[in-house]
Amino acid sequence: MPAEIEVIKPGILTTIQDLGRPGYFHLGIPMGGAMDRLAFEAANRLVGNPEDAAGLEAVFIGPEIAFRSDATVAVTGATMPIRIDGEEKPGWTALAVKAGQTLSFGYLQDGARIYIAISGGIATEPMLGSRSTYAIGALGGVGGRAVAAGDVIPLGEAAGAAEGRSVPEALRRKPGSPAEIRVLPGLYWHRITPASQANFFADTWMVAAEADRMGYRFKGGRPLEFVPREPPFGAGSDPSNIVDGCYPYGSIQVPGGTEPICLHRDAVSGGGYFMIGTVISADMDLIGQLQPNVKVTFIEVDMPAALAARKARAALVEEMRAALA
């Protein structure tokens, strides 16, 4: 039997992802890759794959997958009942599947995205060094798109994994309620009034319906007031316009001053809206697990705090590696 899986049902949007394709953002091609990298790397570790092996990311609704060969599988990230031939199995755990068995899921209970790692990893053709799906640019995935019913997806050679081991509960990082997302003010922060700067961090925001791999929109906070200015040549007349520039990953733009949008892994590389600051690298994974309508507060941090949080995340990764070594 060839090592492959068949997609029976794709869910809403199930994509092949790895750790992405850095190096092309200057051409408008984003790094992409798993939204919640901590969960993604944990899934790979559980099944004995390198952390950057390609797996599946499914948002809100899990796929249904038939295995054509024996494999080890692990599901991490959001909380969703996991079933192998109908029998419920634990998450964050290495599970044995036999050729002919089917992996399926129940309703989402918590979080937004699950990660499915399969021993051997997905072995579709990499493009620009990555198998990550970037549908807008028709790169990676299955023919440049998300998976669809009937797709047969090849797997690489498995290293052999210990079934039954799991990621300790303490190492599964999830957003709290309300989710606290740490932001380093900057970029065009000076464009809004001190009152608006304070309001942005004081208000409770809600994840809007437009929340995807490109970016997360938030609503419910007070509109921003801009410091008056003469529009610079070439920017456009709206106070939120800038001469089109680069957008950092995690940067928060606020078109028209009303609904902040935080750019994520499939970000557009630039554009003409001002940005008030950037979500720190350590908290990007958490955003990937937010569902529409959940509450979020932004926490103001400085650079030392951002670097300390980055260190804490790296320590968590090390602990996970040690636990699964």
């Binding site: 709206d238 089109d244 520039g245 995690g250 630039g270």
Partner: protein, 291 residues
């Protein structure tokens, strides 16, 4: 010009060379990003030049943010010395103005527009003080354009018109961005033209469409076999107005692999351009037609 530095979280430094657009700001940003690339600074993972700004992505575990910041500031001083001159390409890009596809799309999104009664071109002609759409279209393609940024989505070029500031066309973006734009739409927002490399969201006014693909992940288009992205910063574009028949002919020829854009190698010197805009443009066009 006043250069402004800011951190974009713990992984980016954003450098605004000037808050307004000018070729001087573009060339300065390009010089600094060139110097950053040349330095091969350990920890730098991406260097993204933009119109009048740029961004550097770095790994703060390899280089401390404040060290990265100091390095960029020292390179700014160095870059100020470099001459604003480059060897580049001039490319003729066919444009079918007032095409049916962008027209269908602009009608579909009319309620998001400043002027729901007219078309994007009617509006652009009016706000720029032109008596007719035809006169506006003429002003749009009479002089060449300069690719001052590549990005937004896959290989999309932003283009800046090579004329004096008084002659620059400017149009606002849509009040609310569209969720759909035909692939290869020639758009306009602020002082920038663009070509939408792929179908998708967009906020620029829509003027026409080109049959010339500029992004090809399959790398089957004859002139993109080496790389899937056609444009690079510094490229110069001359729009060539075409009609429906010519549009369809070129589209078919692209599919057959028998069409390539007209391209010539040219020198662009910013000081020479500023000293004589019309003379420089004439020389650029002569090079294109000789090439």
């Amino acid at each position: 010009m006043k250069t402004r530095y800011s951190y974009g979280g713990d992984e980016h430094i954003f450098v605004e060379v000037d808050d307004e657009m000018s070729l001087d700001a573009f060339f300065k940003a390009l010089s600094i990003t060139g110097a950053v690339a040349e330095k091969k600074i350990p920890g730098v993972t991406e260097i993204c030049p933009a119109n009048a700004s740029f961004q550097v992505k770095f790994d703060p575990d390899v280089i401390a943010p404040e060290t990265m910041m100091e390095t960029l500031k020292s390179l700014e001083a160095e870059a100020a010395e470099t001459p604003n001159r480059m060897t580049t390409r001039i490319i003729e890009v066919p444009v079918y103005y007032q095409d049916p596809w962008t027209h269908e799309t602009l009608m579909r999104f009319r309620e998001r527009h400043q002027d729901p009664a007219g078309s994007d071109l009617d509006y652009a002609a009016r706000v720029n003080g032109f008596a007719s759409v035809a006169a506006f279209i003429e002003a749009h393609h009479a002089n060449p354009w300069f690719v001052s940024m590549v990005g937004f989505v896959s290989g999309l070029p932003f283009l800046y018109q090579l004329v004096e500031r008084e002659r620059q066309l400017q149009v606002p973006k849509y009040l609310r961005p569209r969720t759909d734009t035909p692939k290869l739409t020639v758009g306009y927002g602020g002082c920038f033209a663009c070509i939408y490399s792929v179908r998708g969201a967009g906020g620029y006014q829509m003027f026409g469409i080109t049959p010339m693909p500029i992004y090809d992940p399959t790398q089957t288009v004859s002139y993109m076999k080496d790389f899937m992205v056609f444009f690079r910063p510094g490229d110069i574009v001359k729009w060539d107005p075409i009609d429906r028949a010519e549009h369809d002919r070129i589209e078919a020829a692209v599919r057959d692999g028998t069409w390539t854009p007209k391209i010539a190698e040219v020198e662009f010197d910013l000081a020479a351009f500023n000293a004589d805009v019309d003379g420089t443009n004439k020389r650029l066009m002569e090079a294109l037609h000789a090439g």
